[in-house]
């Protein structure tokens, strides 16, 4: 049940109507209980077998959080540290079991076979449950934040379970931090007209980028990653160049829809993107891309490592960044291509570290007529090309496929293909609109957000028309139920 589907619309209509019944609005516990039931129904609809695991792991972390706080209060720092480590290991263990066991067992068997020890390791066939990478990170974040004394443990299990299973974000994030989200569950939500209208606008923009831009490019990139031997060199080049736009439009589209749904229910969900197409170098790109994940990894992986390596100068920074990027790569799943992706990105950081340019970039300043400055534009194009190369690594089926794809591109058919013939005119126009708005609306949360965020009765009509437009996109789009790229991670 993806957000841009009619089944979700029907589900959400029921959730919304009951959530804001007068009897419900009087008490946040009733609202939380309803949200939790809705979230478990939503998750169970996709993967009902995982529901007991989700409930059990949520309970385990809830108890652990309370125990860590009690240990701190008793002055038992060791017990607090040990229980936090236990929580982190439990989270990583869960991820390891579902995401990596097949991979490591397979690789280990291959290794043993290679050195002459013949073992037959039947494939474990553990199916990756949807959303596990996202809710596990929320759970780990909860125990670390308590240990660092940034938050108090949640005293109410219902509230904690609702935070972990919150349906708009359980499938693919954004990964909300407990410090910002839990307090929102401690008050009854009244219908907030302006916030809800802002959410509707955000959903519309998400539907547009996902269904009009991402899904139309997906048809091209899908062929490039799978049947590249049948494609000409120019086709492959166009696909590679378009891939960063596709993935951005897809994942930003999903994130906007999730955040928008949250806003209608009165929640502020953490933002996931800050105009990554405007990044002038790789370091800036990582400060603009998938913020809820990169922020998480910065706080819990990069900072502790960087603190530990702080007297090693540039080598320490390089090591911390490399481990950080390997974790980001491996987070995507179990495949050597993801490891290679981490190595590739850490190598891109090397020149930046050596020249001292890895720090925070100066704010973008417009040039003549408010347009992007030429020097910045060159940086953006260069970064885009480097990202596009990285996409070959991450979306290829395996390391041999990457080499084969390059061979096909170099030795293939070089007869010219008109790039305009690959996409429909409205898809091309939409991509141009996205690129232009990316620059001109760079200070907004999403491109079509009203500056004042004040939606009067007049703008209600506009929003109503927006929603009709969204409905039209969903109905007429050929790929109404196309999967989101990030659901696989």
């Amino acid at each position: 049940m993806v957000i841009n589907s009619f089944s979700f619309l029907a589900f959400f209509a029921v959730v919304f109507l009951v959530y804001f019944l007068p009897w419900m609005r009087q008490c946040h516990t009733r609202q939380n209980l309803w949200l939790l039931l809705a979230s478990y129904f939503f998750y169970g609809f996709v993967d009902w077998k995982m529901l007991p695991v989700l409930l059990a792991i949520t309970m385990a972390f809830w108890f652990l959080g309370g125990f860590i706080r009690k240990s701190i209060d008793r002055g038992n720092a060791k017990a607090a540290s040990r229980s936090t480590t236990l929580g982190v290991l439990l989270g990583i263990g869960l991820l390891f079991y579902f995401k990596y066991l097949n991979f490591f067992a397979g690789s280990f068997a291959k290794l043993l076979n290679a050195i002459g020890l013949h073992v037959s390791w039947s494939t474990l066939n553990i199916v990756l449950p949807v959303g596990v990478s996202f809710f596990t990170f929320k759970l780990i974040s909860y125990v670390i934040e308590i240990h660092r004394e940034k938050i108090q443990p949640s005293e109410n299990f219902l509230e904690f379970a609702t935070y972990i299973a919150f349906f708009p974000t359980i499938m693919a994030g954004p990964i909300d931090r407990p410090g910002k989200f839990l307090p929102q569950l401690r008050q009854a939500h009244q219908f907030n007209y302006n916030l809800a209208m802002d959410g509707c606008q955000q959903i519309l923009w998400g539907i547009f980028t996902k269904m009009v831009i991402a899904d139309s490019i997906a048809a091209i990139t899908h062929d490039a990653w799978s049947i590249y031997t049948e494609k000409s060199s120019w086709y492959l080049i166009y696909a590679i160049l378009l891939s960063p736009i596709q993935v951005y439009a897809d994942f930003d589209g999903y994130s906007n829809m999730a955040i928008g749904v949250g806003k209608i229910l009165g929640f502020n969900i953490t933002k996931n993107f800050d105009h990554p197409l405007l990044a002038r170098n790789v370091s800036e790109y990582w400060r603009r891309w998938h913020l809820s994940l990169t922020g998480w990894i910065t706080d819990y992986v990069f900072m502790p490592l960087n603190v530990r390596f702080r007297n090693w100068g540039n080598l320490g920074i390089f090591l911390a960044i490399s481990i950080n990027l390997l974790v980001i790569g491996m987070w995507h799943g179990a495949n050597w291509t993801y490891v290679l992706f981490g190595v590739y990105h850490s190598l891109l950081f090397l020149p930046l570290i050596l020249t001292g340019k890895f720090g925070k970039n100066k704010k973008l300043k417009p040039g003549r007529w408010g347009c992007v400055q030429f020097k910045d534009l060159l940086g953006m194009i260069g970064t885009h090309l480097l990202m596009a190369l990285g996409h070959i690594i991450i979306f290829s089926a395996g390391v041999p496929s990457i080499i084969r794809l390059f061979k096909c591109m170099i030795n293939g058919d070089w007869s010219f293909v008109n790039p305009l013939s690959l996409l429909s005119w409205y898809s091309i126009l939409s991509i141009v609109v996205l690129l232009v708005l990316e620059w001109f609306t760079r200070n907004k949360e999403f491109a079509i957000q009203r500056v004042s965020k004040d939606y009067t009765s007049k703008t209600f009509r506009i929003v109503f028309l927006d929603m009709l437009l969204a409905l039209a996109i969903v109905i007429f789009s050929a790929s109404a139920n196309a999967e989101f790229v990030y659901f696989q991670f």
Binding site: N306, V307, R310, N311
Partner: protein, 80 residues
């Protein structure tokens, strides 16, 4: 060491590491207040502070700080 003396020294270190002309840190100052202060320059700041005051923080101490005031408390505790 007086709190005001620590702040004087910290202002100097911040200007030096972050390449700023002037800075006025207070107990409530946080990274969001200064554009140049990010996760990377944060580590450079810590290294410079440890060197200037001749102290060593633990990892957990560093992770727990919520603002400059809490960092100053740690410095005072170490200097006593």
């Amino acid at each position: 060491m007086e709190r005001s003396e620590i702040y004087e020294k910290l202002n100097e270190i911040f200007c030096d590491v972050l390449d700023l002309d002037e800075v006025h840190l207070t107990d409530a100052s946080v990274a969001d207040d200064i554009e140049e202060w990010d996760s990377l320059s944060h580590i450079q700041l810590i290294v410079a502070i440890e060197k200037a005051f001749g102290i060593k923080f633990t990892s957990l101490e560093i992770m727990k700080w919520n603002n400059v005031g809490e960092m100053v408390n740690s410095i005072i505790a170490k200097k006593q």
